[in-house]
Symmetry: C2
């Protein structure tokens, strides 16, 4: 686990350096103007710490294929912009109404609601700017594949759709299937994309890509289960955000349906499934295997 934690930190540092660079307040060639207030609110939403798990997954899935590191970093940065935009919008008063994110004021608290909406819009749009740049890959077809997959993972059939189903479930008391589907869209799709993107950037074969897809799906589910479990078991100061929200809101989660013990067991099984998917890569996949364990270790 030590090697994983070290690499997670290293990749997070690279990611943040690149975010700093692309969200620089300096004038950028070819752009009319970058309003400072907008950049500051985008930076607040994007440069706020966090584990940076998705960027790690892009970097390390790509490393399996010796993909170009600069390309991987560009893709990871685009993906993290999408993830961060979703947090900024989810925190809004009309949605989850959260004042704190990682122990700091959310964007609409630090700035205001309009700026938070626009910062989110700016980050989402910027992600596609970053991916369309040749720094993401020198082959335009590869960039198109990444853009198409990210747009689907983040869109109405993915993250945005999942957030709608989370806020407004289609049945009064959603069961396991409905919740699992909602989570697969809301958080799973972007995690799966992270794993696939590394492979796509590195020219993975169809079988290799499908192994990454299985891995991504399994850790996505495990990650969400762990989040639900933490919502029940952790304290606010441990997480740096409001806890026990689901229970307080009387909301069904996989954990509330299964019970804590069965949820933990299911999370462990998903980790095993994730690791099994990586068998074709042998011990080159050690870091990704440790990452799978990490997603649930957090709950212990």
């Amino acid at each position: 686990m030590d090697r994983f934690l070290r690499q997670l930190k290293l990749d997070a540092a690279s990611l943040e350096a690149r975010l700093e660079e692309v969200l620089s307040l300096a004038k950028i060639k070819g752009e009319i103007y970058r309003p400072g207030q907008l950049l500051n609110s985008m930076r607040h939403g994007a440069l706020n710490g966090g584990k940076r798990l998705r960027p790690f997954l892009v970097m390390q899935a790509g490393a399996l294929f010796d993909a170009n590191q600069h390309n991987l970093l560009q893709i990871a940065t685009a993906l993290e912009c999408v993830h961060c935009y979703s947090l900024v919008h989810d925190d809004l008063p009309a949605m989850d109404n959260d004042d704190l994110r990682r122990g700091k004021p959310t964007v609409h608290k630090a700035f205001n609601e309009a700026m938070a909406i626009l910062a989110g819009d700016g980050l989402l749009t910027f992600a596609f700017d970053l991916l369309s740049n040749e720094q993401a890959h020198d082959n335009a077809k590869v960039r198109i594949t990444l853009i198409s997959k990210l747009a689907k993972a983040a869109g109405l059939g993915g993250m945005v759709g999942g957030q709608v189903l989370d806020l407004y479930p289609e049945s009064d008391k959603p069961g396991m299937n409905e919740i699992t589907r909602m989570q697969a869209m809301k958080t799973g799709a972007l995690i799966k994309f992270a794993c696939e993107a590394g492979g796509i950037c590195g020219g993975a074969s169809r079988d290799e890509l499908s192994a990454l897809t299985s891995y991504g799906e399994a850790i996505g589910q495990a990650f969400q289960l762990a989040d639900d479990i933490l919502d029940v078991t952790a304290t606010q100061s441990q997480l740096g955000k409001t806890t026990a929200k689901d229970k307080d809101q009387g909301k069904q989660t996989q954990t509330s349906i299964l019970g804590l013990d069965a949820a933990k067991k299911m999370a462990d099984e998903l980790v095993t499934k994730a690791c099994d998917s990586l068998a074709p890569f042998g011990n080159r996949a050690d870091l990704l295997i440790q990452a799978a364990h990490f997603t649930v270790e957090r709950t212990r």
Copy 2:
């Protein structure tokens, strides 16, 4: 002008048919699930009438080069999704707080605020899905160029940045230069993109593209001037939205600085400039020339 109005309607009808198709409530192959409530709010935001000027510009700029009509329609649909998302978010209570849009309730009035935020996010993301699809162009490099340009036109150095500067001007009393730059970002960038996109799709030469850029910039400015003028001179029922908002809010516009007559004169000069830019295309550009006149005719 008759031929222009006929073509504007025809292109709007094609656009709406394509929007109907891509925002269909039916299951789409390869997607996990499309939540009906999200689609309905996206449809409310996108299928709400409107002149569809941007799609027309894509189609008719493309027609100069005999570009593939199906490709042009796909690009126009993506662009209109971006335009409509921006209207949905701009109308939100935290921004312009508008209850009416084209005489109908805005998305947050017809649904609620959270759904309006998510419908906008969904439309923006979907635009890049549509552009990454080979239906936008069979050459991946062309699709990448379109995506890159759209992301820049819609992003922090374009539309989103312009909206920030409109809501929160950087000086207490912005002058002509500041307002002109803000408008070039807020509305100009997307109109310019519409004209360029048609040319890019049709394989325009560098000189031809630069003619379209000049044309797009000029009509973008004229269009915005006309909007400001209408805000002063038209009635609410004529426009189907709240009028005299700028004056009521004590907001500086180009028209308030120049005065009504000088603003109208400037708009006319911009139309002349736009038409002159199209000289290289001869009378093949008749429809675009009529479109330039139309942007200001609305104010008479």
